[in-house]
């Protein structure tokens, strides 16, 4: 269970408050969606949860299964089960996709005191998972995200998520820029990981993703906090009327 309470975050470099008392709980096994206008702080939230530098937490807390996330190093949060599918996945020239992922899997296992995955086992597992995401062997060998199309990058994020088997998955606009087929693949990838225990926090602008990944709860975020939460119908309302009405309600 991910529990964010009254989280307040400003930029380290300048005096700009971005999250202004964000509270949110994603119980284990549930899928929650976050929608909200550009600049409302959705990506910032995902970065602060995963420990990216440049932000200062000035108040509030965030825990995963009761463990304080904010006190840990980014890699420790990852090993504790937090995964972020990046809005803009980074390119790492010269580092093979497969090498990268195996290093990640085994680093996490090592820090949890588990046995490393053998090369043979890793290969077997990744091949099966890549296949269902229509990622071919060629793409597994290529350097991480280098020269990948937008859709390939996003599918690659989902592949990483599938291999790392996190407890809590945060997806930041994974559907943005995808055509319908690619979006369906991504949605199927996410659905395949739903097992009743794993939780998801899906940041999106579009109802169409939520047609495929059925959320339990939809939150609307504006100006650094959640202004409204509800069922899947809330996403439909945004789709039809935009954010204006919702913003007016809280103003």
């Amino acid at each position: 269970m991910l529990k964010i309470e009254n989280l307040q975050v400003k930029l380290e470099e300048e005096d700009k408050q971005i999250l202004k008392g964000l509270s949110l709980t994603v119980p284990s096994g549930e899928v929650h969606a976050i929608m909200g206008p550009n600049g409302s702080g959705k990506s910032t939230m995902s970065y602060v949860l995963s420990g990216k530098g440049g932000y200062e937490v000035t108040g509030g807390s965030a825990t995963l299964d009761g463990v304080d996330l904010l006190a840990m190093e980014p890699e420790e949060r990852a090993a504790a089960g937090l995964f972020l599918a990046f809005q803009y996945p980074v390119e790492i020239p010269g580092v093979g996709n497969m090498t990268f992922l195996r290093t990640a899997v085994n680093s996490q296992r090592k820090s949890r005191g588990e046995d490393e995955m053998s090369a043979a086992e890793f290969l077997k597992v990744i091949r099966a998972k890549a296949k269902s995401l229509k990622i071919d062997a060629e793409m597994l060998k290529r350097p991480v995200n280098v020269g990948f199309s937008g859709g390939e990058k996003k599918r690659n994020e989902i592949l990483q998520m599938a291999m790392l088997e996190p407890k809590m998955c945060v997806l930041d606009e994974t559907d943005s820029g995808l055509d319908v087929d690619a979006m369906k693949l991504v949605a199927e990838g996410v659905n395949a990981l739903r097992d009743g225990k794993r939780s998801f926090l899906v940041i999106t602008h579009y109802q169409r993703l939520l047609d495929h990944i059925k959320p339990d709860v939809v939150h609307i975020m504006a100006d650094g906090r959640i202004i409204k939460s509800g069922g899947p119908e809330l996403a439909l309302e945004v789709e039809n009327n935009g954010y204006a009405d919702l913003l007016a309600e809280v103003a």
Partner: protein, 506 residues
């Protein structure tokens, strides 16, 4: 009768030196047992040159060759054009000959070896059997190391200790031995080729080396022979204040092939040490030499204290048509590095390749690169240089590509990439290009990039800690060069990249 027996105090040589030299000579015969090192006294003069020559039981012509070099050296000035700065070296405050204690009393097992050294081997993933050979364990070299097939000629300080796989090489007709042995056993080859690629008077350090080189390796691959295994020499600097003057000579006769690996690790030292090696490669018609170096000498601590000064002259002469040479180097050590492995492309259709990773961290200074001298027709060269700077280090690539008038239809491609870690370090690229005919082409590409926080964070979010992430990114940057190393060496080199960047992030 050795030259020493007749040695008298000459003009300009004080009696003290002569006495010291003679007392050192006595230790050899066991008059004294409590010495740690078998040292010649500090400093260099004609008597020291003679001493080194006599210690190696060299013939007169060799002694003369050395003396000739020494006289040249006395008239030369230390070069100062490289982008490196260091306190003036007092060449009279250095030992020019030292036989390590381990040579006299070999450790019986790894338990008797410096644990720090073992820890370094461990991190580098060197197999246990090989660790034992490297550490000079008694008898360790008698049975071949399992796993990889590499002949190890371990050079500890100034003296070759052990050579393995000799029989198998002998069967193939390959000569692989210490240069001092070659001088005694194969004088005709040494006379013919020594100094033929790097002349005695080539440069200040090479000339000094010619006068005082203590030992090194010699390889001869006969015509039409593919050397049955990778040849490898590990150098280690052992004694404090000991000048290191290794000499390597490799000859690949017509149509032959050899891959030679050179690697070094050094224990931590407090005072600066000088190293001035010379490597000469002779490549005949249709022959090929691959020379790979992984260099990990003590670079000085995080405050810039200590570390090794490395002034190396490495040159390959593609003497015959279609001769090929490939230099690959991973340079991570030394406080100051001055090194330009070069290719003389004399034969028509000959080719030279240079792949380099140079890492400079903390206060390290590296000025490295290559020279491609195209003399023959249709000659080709390729330069891939990956410079990595971290901490307050300065890393300079200096490369010369020269196309002579007769080198018609020749090609060079140079790719020179720099990676910066942090904002206190520097990278410099100094290409010199001379094209003196109109049918040749030279291409030069250069990039400079920074390891960015986004990349590091991306890796860390996947569970890879900061140092491992940096190592991954840097190894990715340098991949092309790592791939050109022999497989087993590539793994060690990757580990070395990680070790040498420890502490440069966070």
């Amino acid at each position: 009768m050795t030259a020493l027996d007749t040695m008298k105090a000459k003009d300009g040589v004080d009696q003290e030196t002569v006495d010291a030299v003679q007392s050192v000579e006595k230790y050899k015969y066991g008059f004294s047992t409590d010495i740690e090192m078998d040292f010649a006294p500090k400093g260099v003069n004609e008597d020291i040159v003679r001493l080194i020559s006599s210690k190696n039981e060299e013939p007169e012509w060799m002694t003369e060759w050395r003396l000739q070099a020494f006289r040249r050296w006395q008239q030369m000035d230390e070069p100062d054009w490289a982008m490196v700065h260091y306190p003036e070296i007092d060449f009279q405050d250095i030992y020019y000959y030292a036989k390590p204690k381990s040579m006299l009393v070999k450790p019986k097992s790894l338990d008797e070896v410096d644990p720090k050294l073992l820890a370094t081997y461990e991190k580098l993933g060197i197999p246990l059997k090989e660790q034992m050979i490297l550490a000079g364990i008694e008898g360790a070299g008698d049975t071949p190391a399992e796993g990889r097939k590499v002949a190890v000629d371990a050079v500890f300080d100034s003296v070759s200790i052990g050579t393995t796989f000799k029989d198998e090489l002998a069967k193939a007709g390959v000569i692989f031995c210490s240069i001092s042995e070659a001088i005694r056993e194969h004088p005709e080859l040494v006379k013919k080729y020594l100094g033929s690629v790097v002349p005695q008077s080539d440069n200040y350090y090479a000339t000094l080396n010619s006068a005082v080189f203590s030992d090194g390796s010699f390889v001869y691959i006969p015509e039409g022979t593919k050397c049955p295994m990778e040849l490898s020499t590990y150098f280690r600097i052992n004694a404090e204040n000991t000048g290191q003057f290794e000499r390597t000579l490799i000859i690949a006769d017509k149509g032959s092939y050899v891959s030679y690996l050179e690697g070094c690790t050094a224990p931590k030292r407090d005072t600066n040490q000088l190293h001035a090696a010379v490597v000469e490669l002779v490549i005949m018609e249709d022959a090929e030499i691959k020379y790979s170096t992984v260099q990990n000498w003590f670079p000085g601590d995080e405050n810039g204290k200590g570390g090794i000064y490395n002034f190396v002259t490495k040159r390959a002469d593609c003497r015959g048509d279609r001769a090929k040479v490939m230099w690959t180097q991973v340079e991570t050590g030394s406080a100051v590095t001055w090194k330009y492995p070069s290719c003389i492309l004399r034969g028509d259709d000959s080719s030279g390749e240079f792949y380099s990773i140079a890492i400079a961290n903390n206060y390290q200074q590296a000025d490295t690169g290559t020279k491609m001298v195209h003399l023959g027709k249709n000659t080709k060269s390729r330069i891939v240089s990956k410079g990595i700077s971290a901490g307050r280090a300065q890393n300079t690539y200096r490369g010369l590509v020269s196309m002579h008038p007769k080198a018609k239809n020749s090609r060079n491609y140079t790719q020179c990439d720099s990676l910066l870690i942090g904002d206190k370090c520097g990278a410099h690229t100094v290409p010199y290009i001379e094209v003196r005919n109109n049918s040749s082409r030279v291409e030069h590409e250069a990039t400079t990039s920074k390891v960015d926080d986004e990349q590091l964070f991306y890796c860390r979010q996947r569970g890879i800690d900061e140092e491992a992430a940096l190592a991954l990114i840097v190894n990715g940057f340098a991949k092309e060069v790592l791939q050109s190393l022999p497989m087993e060496f590539a793994m060690e080199a990757q580990a070395l990249v990680a070790i040498s960047l420890e502490g440069s992030v966070g």
